[in-house]
């Protein structure tokens, strides 16, 4: 009887162990062939031809929805050319980063390639999740990279991918609406912006002159950094010490609060809006001003989705001290856990090298991070308002580049919204944010 019990228990334990092993838990060392439940990258089965050394390799990547069909077309072309198949895990916008981090935590072999935001670079490098690619970087590329695009690619003198979607936010205005209000040029400073906004509303041209992406999310940080920089504020000084509760930052936040509650020139729904909501409002002709990523006029001049075709222009964002905007460059990178790093590099080169970047700019409106590409005649012809966009891009500032960025950003979003919802004064909110930042810095020393 006792023997039977023991044998039953042993069988149970065996079955349980089998089930646990299938769960794919636990990190696997980079380069090893995992046996976990993660879908492994397939190895080539047959000996590939010499001109297609990676034929049969399957690379996995994670991406938002392929709305224009650009990716599908590109991946097919790449497969025909190299024999490498690209499998895309399509996830809703905003869920990419979290799924990616979870894949890193379970060994990093789930995805071979991924798009890395500038704010993620320090954390990914420090945690060893992203592969350095210096061995493959061509000498001429080092001088061809745009300075702010470089911040998403190079960290502590090492390259971690190639620039992809080297974007910043541009100030867009509806010239027809301004004309109706009696203005032939956009506001150059914040005082003018408030004055013109009020007039647009008083004359019944718009209900609210502008909408912003001030939800409790990363988009709020982007807008605040841009506005604070236009007031002359600096978030962290050269020695890495936070400075964002100084007079200039407080003034910037106070202005945002006043635009919402005192002048009432900003749609109060901004506190729940992300960038896409703002773009929709601009395209619907509900507002006269917006701050938008990338090449805004691609969407604004598309008759299928816009009611303001031909009515908008790009200009410098209004400023008080110096012209500024926010940058958000990204890189295409390789996971440290990838089993096919060389094949992955082939794909990155095809996609985000100077030739691929030129094609992405012309065919898909993706802003290139290479000087040579921006200077090319095809790109100049394909991007509407390129000169104005570039002028704005020269003033772009970055968000803090620290490994604990997401925790800092999450805290900062709440403090900024405390001020915007008038739960705290701007000074109090930024002072509290400063205390919490110092604590966070100490915890991460």
């Amino acid at each position: 009887m006792k023997r039977k019990l023991v044998s039953d228990l042993l069988l149970l334990l065996f079955a349980f162990t089998l089930l646990s092993a299938c769960s794919g838990q636990g990190a696997q060392p980079a380069g090893s062939v995992g046996e976990g439940g993660d879908k492994e990258t397939e190895q080539p089965e047959a000996k590939p031809a010499d001109d297609k050394p990676f034929a049969g390799v399957v690379l996995r990547t994670i991406s938002g929805p392929d709305e224009t069909g650009y990716w599908g077309k590109l991946n097919k072309e790449f497969e025909d050319k190299t024999g490498i198949k690209i499998e895309v895990d399509t996830v809703p916008y905003g869920q990419q980063q979290q799924k990616l981090v979870n894949s890193f935590l379970s060994g990093g072999s789930t995805y071979d390639l991924f798009v890395m935001d500038v704010i993620d670079l320090p954390q990914y490098v420090e945690a060893g999740w992203v592969e350095p690619v210096d061995q493959w970087i061509q000498e001429e590329w080092k001088t061809d990279l745009l300075p702010f695009a470089q911040s998403a690619v190079v960290y502590k003198d090492k390259w971690y991918g190639l620039p992809w979607a080297s974007e910043w936010k541009s100030f867009v205005y509806n010239k027809e609406m301004l004309k109706k209000a009696g203005y032939d040029r956009p506001p150059a400073n914040w005082d003018d912006f408030i004055k013109v906004s009020k007039e647009l509303q008083d004359k019944g041209i718009v209900k609210y002159a502008s909408t912003w992406s001030w939800l409790q999310g990363e988009a709020l940080i982007c807008d605040f950094v841009a506005i604070a920089a236009s007031k002359g504020a600096v978030f962290f000084d050269d020695s890495g010490q936070p400075k964002f509760n100084d007079e200039k930052s407080v003034e910037a936040l106070q202005m945002m609060v006043d635009m919402l509650h005192k002048y009432k020139i900003v749609d109060p729904a901004s506190l729940t809006f992300s960038e896409s909501n703002v773009s929709n409002a601009m395209q619907a002709g509900d507002i006269a001003f917006e701050l938008s990523w990338g090449i805004p006029q691609v969407g604004l001049n598309d008759e299928k989705q816009s009611k303001v075709v031909g009515q908008t222009e790009v200009a410098r964002m209004p400023y008080s001290v110096k012209a500024a905007t926010i940058s958000g460059p990204m890189a295409y990178s390789i996971s440290s856990g990838s089993k096919n790093k060389e094949a992955a590099w082939e794909y990155i080169k095809f996609l985000a090298g100077p030739d691929g970047a030129k094609r992405a700019a012309v065919e898909n409106g993706v802003f290139p991070g290479w000087k040579s590409v921006i200077g090319s005649t095809e790109v100049k012809a394909a991007i509407p308002g390129l000169e104005e966009l570039l002028e704005q891009g020269e003033t772009a500032v970055n968000r803090p580049q620290v490994p604990w960025y997401h925790e800092w950003s999450s805290m900062m979003q709440v403090e900024l919204q405390n001020a915007l919802t008038q739960k705290k004064s701007p000074k109090q909110a930024l002072d509290d944010a400063m205390d919490k930042t110092l604590k966070l810095m100490k915890e991460n020393e």
Binding site: K4, S20, V101, L215, Q216, T272, S410, Q417, L420, T421
Partner: protein, 317 residues
């Protein structure tokens, strides 16, 4: 030997004609039952027991997932002390308690009223009872998306309805104001949760004998007295069950917050479930998050204990 004859020493009509002894079973009934249950036991162990034990382990270690060179460290009760001294945790607890209280009370009140209405006779009662289940059957995420559009500040149905009926002359940004947003999230939750309460009450109402009401009528009791002294006391046991289930449900609310507000504005709708998700899955602090989950479990158990004690005391009918 002709066919059909049996051996001389075989007992006629014996239950085991071959040997006279019961045949040896391949395995005992208990053992057979065990093998039948094995797949379920394995699944329960793999999907419940193992994660449960692992989460206890997690609450006492720091995995240092973003600092892999450090490796896992045993930290004792640090996560528990950290969480209990964290102001953001207590702020999210306040939000959760408010959410739970208003959501549970309102869903029980609305559910009771609806069940009383559906218990009376009227045309299309069957259809009304079926339609009642629709919001309850919809998944939490879909419910969140529906309410996102209902509450949309510029194109939402609610603003359109209120302005067209003259209740207000301007559109309201429902989710931009900290106080308003939490209450609107509760409304969205109420829409999904009250049908379950109504259904349970309806079942309980149908089990109350009609004789009791007739006897009360003979004694001169009016409808309100019948409700007060017959219906309500007989609904007490199901109310206890509903209180426990709805409290646990509300305390764990996550999907609606994730879709509708992401905890904003200014953390006004950040319930404890969302806070722990953020710490665990966004900042990779799984140990801290696991410890927080046990703190919440403790609070829920205390609440359930209080409910049972309170309602048991009054359960003297």
């Amino acid at each position: 030997m002709p066919a059909g004859t049996h051996e001389p020493n075989a007992l006629p009509n014996a239950p085991y004609p071959q040997t006279g002894k019961p045949p040896r079973k391949m395995m005992s009934e208990a053992r057979f039952a065990f093998w039948l249950l094995l797949p379920t036991i394995v699944l329960v162990c793999g999907l419940l027991f193992y994660p449960f034990v692992y989460s206890i382990y997690l609450s006492f270690v720091d995995l240092n997932l973003t600092k892999p060179w450090k490796g896992p460290e045993f930290v004792g009760f640090k996560h528990f002390t950290d969480i209990l001294t964290n102001t953001e945790f207590w702020q999210s607890m306040k939000v959760t308690v408010y959410f739970t209280f208003v959501s549970v009370v309102s869903s029980i009140a609305v559910g009771l009223l609806v069940s009383l209405a559906l218990n009376s006779r009227f045309k299309l009662r069957g259809l009304a009872r079926s339609l009642l289940l629709v919001p309850w059957a919809i998944s939490g995420v879909i419910n969140g998306l529906i309410w996102q559009w209902i509450l949309h500040p510029n194109y939402g149905v609610l603003n359109a309805a209120l302005t067209q009926t003259g209740f207000t002359d301007r559109y309201i940004a429902w989710l931009s104001d900290p106080v308003l947003s939490l209450n609107m999230v509760i409304v969205a939750d109420l829409w999904k949760s009250f049908p379950f309460v109504a259904l349970m009450y309806l079942a309980a109402l149908q089990s109350i004998p009609k004789d009791l009401y007739e006897a009360a009528k003979v004694d001169g009791a009016n409808s309100f007295a019948g409700f007060r002294f017959i219906t309500l006391p007989l609904l007490a046991p199901i109310t206890l069950v509903l209180l426990v289930l709805r409290t646990i449900d509300s305390f764990r609310i996550f999907d609606l917050i994730y879709v509708l507000t992401k905890g904003g504005p200014a953390n006004a709708t950040q319930v404890v479930g969302y806070y722990l998700y953020k710490e665990g899955f966004q900042f990779a602090k799984f140990g801290y998050s696991a410890a927080g989950s046990y703190v919440i479990t403790f609070f829920i158990l205390v609440l359930v204990f209080i409910y049972i004690k309170k309602l048991d005391r009054h359960n003297d009918f």
